[in-house]
């Protein structure tokens, strides 16, 4: 509630007399005073990012108190994995995040490989990199649609989500699945690229860039977007450590933390990934940063396609995966998803099943601690925009 005292709200000096009194640093909100209304945004609400909800207390149209409720998508993945063999975990984990399932697949396969001491062959590493980077593109396109849609620009959402569908077509060719790819099997990947894939992918990159130039015109440099997103949900550099903010949200606040650069995995150490940062920290800076990151992903995909080895094994020499036992140990494997640090902590006890698996999603703090802090003092009409600008994804919170 500390924000209440800083009365500056996007150049508009609000009348604070109707705001809650502060007592011992806590706001006193008396619902019976009829000054406040309690409303729920979600779970059945078009303005929330997925199946979650935010409990709000508003004063007029300004939010004075917010609380995130999650658990609508809790499927107990971690519990289920404890009673599944290692190989059986692999189809399960991609369901943790729908727009970007491949990061989960990579992390869980890499964690098993790390614990079992398996080295993935070169070609499979490149294919994994391609898959991960393509999934980032898909996720960013979805996000772009969401951010535009949250500001009422449904047409942009139509374009970008439509364009994502073409990327899903590529995924379908490559992996056999449209949304859930189940591609990165422990030890490698499941299939090589089909014939003519590279040409079609390059063609799609060109089409995506053409679309992005439209998005640039209609969204990034749109006066309306600027006026609504600038100054919204400012993340200060101090907050980054305090709240454990990661990914584009942290980079927009000046923290140069991109796992692809800091702790390179698969083939990112051989690729030219640039750290894109900003120092403004508001929703517009985050939007711009993601837009630039999307461009970088397109660059990376075409670079990966150029450097993709023609020949090579796609799976390491593996034991019988049905009876696969992994020696005892614990590990933490992380990867950069579009939302930030996405990691899997895995403990093995030498048996056929993992002892404990924990999926760390970037939204875990973004959608709860950070959102509850940033939502206060903004207009209720901006809440959807704020949630999308934090790129929250509820399934990775509750798993």
């Amino acid at each position: 509630m500390s924000n209440l005292s800083s009365s500056k709200y996007r150049g508009y000096e609000a009348d604070r007399s109707k705001y809650p009194e502060m007592k011992n640093g806590k706001a006193v909100i008396d619902l019976d005073s009829h000054k406040y209304t309690k409303i729920w945004q979600g779970p059945q609400h078009p303005g929330v990012t997925g199946n979650m909800s935010v409990e709000l207390i508003v004063n007029g149209d300004e939010i004075v108190w917010a609380k995130t409720h999650v658990g609508y998508l809790h499927r107990a993945f971690e519990k289920l994995m404890e009673r599944r063999k290692y190989i059986q975990c692999f189809p399960l984990v991609c369901r943790i995040c729908v727009p970007e399932p491949d990061t989960n697949e990579y992390c869980v396969s890499a964690a098993m490989e790390d614990l079992a001491g398996i080295t993935v062959p070169e070609k499979a590493q490149w294919l994994r990199t391609l898959n991960l980077e393509m999934s980032r593109i898909g996720s960013y396109l979805m996000w772009l649609g969401g951010q535009a849609g949250s500001l009422g620009m449904g047409a942009i959402a139509q374009w970008t989500v439509g364009m994502r569908d073409f990327w899903l077509d590529l995924f379908e060719e490559m992996t056999g699945g449209r949304v859930y790819h189940m591609y990165m099997i422990p030890g490698g990947v499941r299939k090589d690229l089909p014939d003519g894939f590279k040409e079609r992918a390059r063609d799609l990159i060109i089409r995506t860039r053409r679309l992005l130039s439209d998005v640039e015109n209609t969204f990034i440099s749109n006066a309306l977007v600027k006026s609504r997103l600038q100054g919204l949900g400012i993340i200060t550099p101090e907050m980054v450590d305090e709240f454990g903010i990661v990914g584009p949200n942290a980079r927009a606040a000046g923290r140069g933390y991109d796992i692809r650069i800091n702790n390179p995995y698969v083939k990112y150490d051989e690729l030219d990934v640039k750290m894109i940062t900003s120092t403004v920290g508001d929703a517009y800076a985050r939007a711009q940063l993601r837009y630039n990151d999307l461009h970088q992903s397109l660059d990376l995909v075409s670079e990966i396609l150029d450097r993709m080895p023609e020949e090579g094994a796609i799976q390491a020499e593996m034991p019988n995966l049905v009876n696969w036992k992994i020696p005892p140990g614990q590990t933490y494997v992380k990867a950069e998803s579009t939302r930030g640090e996405h990691g899997f902590y895995m403990v093995s006890d030498g048996s056929e099943k993992p002892r404990r698996v924990f999926a760390r999603g970037a939204s875990y703090t973004h959608a709860i601690s950070v959102l509850e802090k940033l939502a206060v003092n903004i207009s209720i009409s901006d809440l959807a925009g704020l949630m999308v600008s934090l790129h929250t994804c509820p399934p990775e919170i509750e798993r």
């Binding site: 790390d114 305090e242 454990g244 702790n263 590990t331 933490y332 924990f358 875990y364």
Partner: protein
């Protein structure tokens, strides 16, 4: 990293140290010294990022292992700080004052493992469950399949066969079973 481990050794009772990768290390410390070492790591050693706080149920040993995964932005190293706590009446000191999102993990652990964190804000609030009446579900002794069969209706009409048993039934039904060894005392 060796220097840091030496330093930690000098400060607290270091129960175990393990290196998984160049950028991932694990240390195990005592419960009482945890807060101190976390504060030191955060304030002086650059481990400013708390990636997660989680628990592993060591049912056989009657313990929970808590893991505080820290990250250092300047050296790009992850350090997992392990601490063992008793499984019965599990309780741990809260770290919400060190990291503002610490309470979230503590709320989750309270709900899913039944570990209490006194003083942690909102720790008794429900997180993902609603109206849960059983034991905390992430504990090893909670059988999720049994609960699911008991609570949700499985669609009937499924039955399976063991190929070996089925073939025995079909091909060599009359083959005698292994004889009982007739011992003196029986």
């Amino acid at each position: 990293m060796e220097q840091l481990i030496k330093k930690i050794k000098g400060m607290v009772h270091l129960r175990a140290y393990g290196k998984q990768r160049d950028d991932l290390h694990f240390v195990t410390v005592d419960k009482a010294q945890l807060e101190m070492i976390l504060a030191h790591l955060k304030n002086y050693e650059g481990f400013t990022h708390l990636a997660f706080l989680q628990a592993v149920d060591l049912l056989e040993e009657g313990k929970f292992r808590l893991i505080y995964m820290l990250y250092n932005y300047s050296t790009n190293v992850n350090l997992g700080v392990n601490v063992l706590i008793d499984r019965d009446n599990a309780e741990m000191n809260s770290i919400h004052k060190l990291w503002a999102h610490g309470w979230q993990y503590q709320r989750e652990l309270h709900e899913l493992f039944g570990i209490d964190f006194p003083d942690s804000p909102r720790v008794h609030e429900s997180f993902v469950l609603e109206g849960w009446e059983e034991m905390p579900p992430m504990r090893r002794d909670f059988d999720t399949l049994e609960y699911s069969n008991r609570t949700f209706y499985q669609r009937p009409g499924r039955s399976t066969n063991d190929p070996a048993e089925y073939m025995k039934e079909k091909i060599y039904k009359n083959y005698p079973a292994a004889p009982v060894i007739r011992r003196d005392n029986e």
